[in-house]
Amino acid sequence: MKLDTQLLADVTAFLNIEADMLDNKEYQQWLDLWLETGLYIVPVDHNATDYANTLNVAYDDDEMRKLRIERLTSGDAISTQLGEKTVRTMSRFRILDDIDGFVRVRCAYSLYENNKNGLRCYPANLQFKLVRDGGSFKIAEKIVKVMKSSQHLTTVSYLF
């Protein structure tokens, strides 16, 4: 198996920035990371493939991403008013393929949240489809397979 360590380093650096932006609520910069046609998906069923015709926890196109950021930042939503910072950790990055300019990458992910109910952890498998954009990337697809999403979650007031 041949390793493209440069691509892996580039992708890892990009995804670390993406996670850091979410942890630090730099939402407008985060929106700029996306292709306009990009999709942010949190599936209910981890075996689903036709996300458009399946119920998801979140299925955000460009318009919904912007509306979601507005909701998270406007102060109108009571569930977001006491939102403390989150901590995301990622590891186990693996390039799945690199075809026609699109790089698909998978990694392990944990989001830690401190709220009034205590410290909560959401482990997930994270999969991105990235497209090269100058010396960086844009996100064409982000799929967050959060453990227990097909059973029961708590409500969340941030982005995975």
Partner: protein
């Protein structure tokens, strides 16, 4: 009234429910919760599934009656059974997971095998049971089951009134709700499940609480277009709440969307113009396009069926009591079986927009419910008020008690039924 009632000195939990208020201990006393499981959930019709969740022979869904696990399954003859999810040998569950399809239920512990109708078919090494076990008597325990318009209910009480009598005045509203398939049979399209740290009755109240909508859901309203925001601005409109008897109630928020088969010539709302165009492009007639578009956003009312299911505008809301201070909620998406893909897809997107752990509505509801659970224990005045609208009641055309859309008429209906059930001596 500000005097604290000493809960332990009361004769009955039923004394904690007055006409206009309920005592805070109903949210937080573990003994009351245990009593509710016995007197409420084990003594009435509990919703367990919609028929489309078990569409074919062998389709099953796991559910619960109170905290008792049950299996809802369709057998080879297409009959629906609800059975306790408990092996008759040593008690292990014989079915796990939310739903699926199977030919039989096999206990993972010692391999007892049950048919789809619950009958005990086979067990390993039967010779040791010779003359001491009659297989005919050791099938999975079946629970009394009846359906109305696709809604499957089960009860542990054999001598209870029929489901038909239990639903009574609510049946008319179930029939209206089922029209939102847009001319196609109603079909479930998956669910969101989440838990919140609070008592089940806080959620039960919420489904018939229009008063909170513009406050709690301000950010949702901000995320829809102006026309839709006007539709959701219903507190000053002509809506109403009706007490339908037996703890059931209906809260009509948008009267013009009560019957989705009427007013098909209304203008297409701007937010559904894309859907209308794509349906027309697929060759659907103007009439069918209008019927689908009118149904896509759901009905203009919430039907609260005591104790555990609501037909809530465009989805089913099923509550599952976990403990006195934890409740699991299932928000079940619905669409039309065989309906155009664009219609069901739009319904799924609308469901995701408001419902579920990351919806624009549910997390804010959850926050409000958590705060009720946390704050209600404070102070010496132990009452939760449900008296809103009591001085302006009227009688509906169906002869029911009727209050304003933002009245607490539906909560009072549920609590008076609750009081009646909790007044019964244990074991009766």
């Amino acid at each position: 009234m500000t005097t604290e009632i000493k809960v332990k000195n009361l004769n009955s939990t039923a004394d904690l429910v007055l006409e206009d208020r309920v005592h805070k201990s109903l949210y937080s006393d573990p003994e009351i919760f245990d009593e509710e499981l016995d007197k409420v959930f084990n003594n009435t019709w509990v919703w367990v599934a919609h028929e489309s969740e078990v569409p074919e022979a062998g389709s099953y869904k796991t559910a619960s009656i109170g905290r008792q696990p049950v299996i809802v399954v369709r057998d080879r003859k297409k009959n629906i059974h609800v059975m306790l999810n408990r092996c008759r040998h040593r008690g292990a569950t014989v079915c796990e997971g939310k739903s699926g399809k199977t030919k039989a239920f096999t206990c993972p512990y010692h391999g007892w095998g049950y048919g789809l109708d619950g009958s005990l078919r086979a067990l390993p090494k039967p010779e040791e049971y010779e003359n001491i076990l009659d297989k005919a008597e050791f099938g999975l325990v079946k629970v009394r089951t009846e359906s109305y318009n696709g809604m499957i209910f089960a009860t542990l009480k054999d001598d209870l009134e029929s489901l038909d009598e239990h639903l009574g005045g609510a049946k008319k509203w179930i029939d209206l709700f089922m029209k939102q398939g847009g001319g196609y049979p109603l079909q479930t399209l998956g669910d969101h499940r989440f838990r919140f740290p609070g008592n089940w009755k806080i959620q039960l109240e919420n489904t018939t609480d229009a008063y909170h909508f513009p406050i709690v859901h301000k950010s949702f309203i901000a995320s829809v277009d102006e026309e839709a925001a006007e539709v959701f601005d219903f507190l000053d409109g002509e809506g109403y709440v009706e007490d339908l008897g037996n703890g059931h109630s209906v809260m009509v928020m948008i009267p013009e969307l009560v019957d989705l088969e009427e007013n098909l010539d209304e203008p297409i709302p701007e937010r559904f113009e894309d859907l209308a165009k794509s349906l027309a492009d697929e060759g659907h007639s103007d009439e069918e396009v209008r019927r689908l578009v009118r149904a896509v956003g759901g009905s203009g009312f919430n039907l609260n069926l005591f104790p555990n299911i609501a037909c809530s505008m465009a989805f089913f809301r099923n509550l599952v009591p976990i403990s006195v201070n934890e409740t699991e909620i299932h928000h079940i998406a619905i669409g039309g079986k065989g309906a155009p893909e664009a219609f069901n897809q739009k319904r799924i997107r609308l469901h995701e927009h408001f419902q579920g752990p990351m919806g624009f509505g549910t997390p804010d509801d959850g926050e409000a419910w958590e705060r009720v659970q946390a704050g209600s224990i404070a102070g010496t005045d132990g009452w939760i008020m449900v008296n809103r609208g009591m001085s302006k009641l009227s009688t509906s055309t169906d002869g029911n008690v009727k209050g304003a859309v933002c009245s607490e008429t539906g909560m009072r209906a549920a609590y008076q039924k609750y009081k009646k059930m909790m007044s019964v001596e244990s074991g009766k």
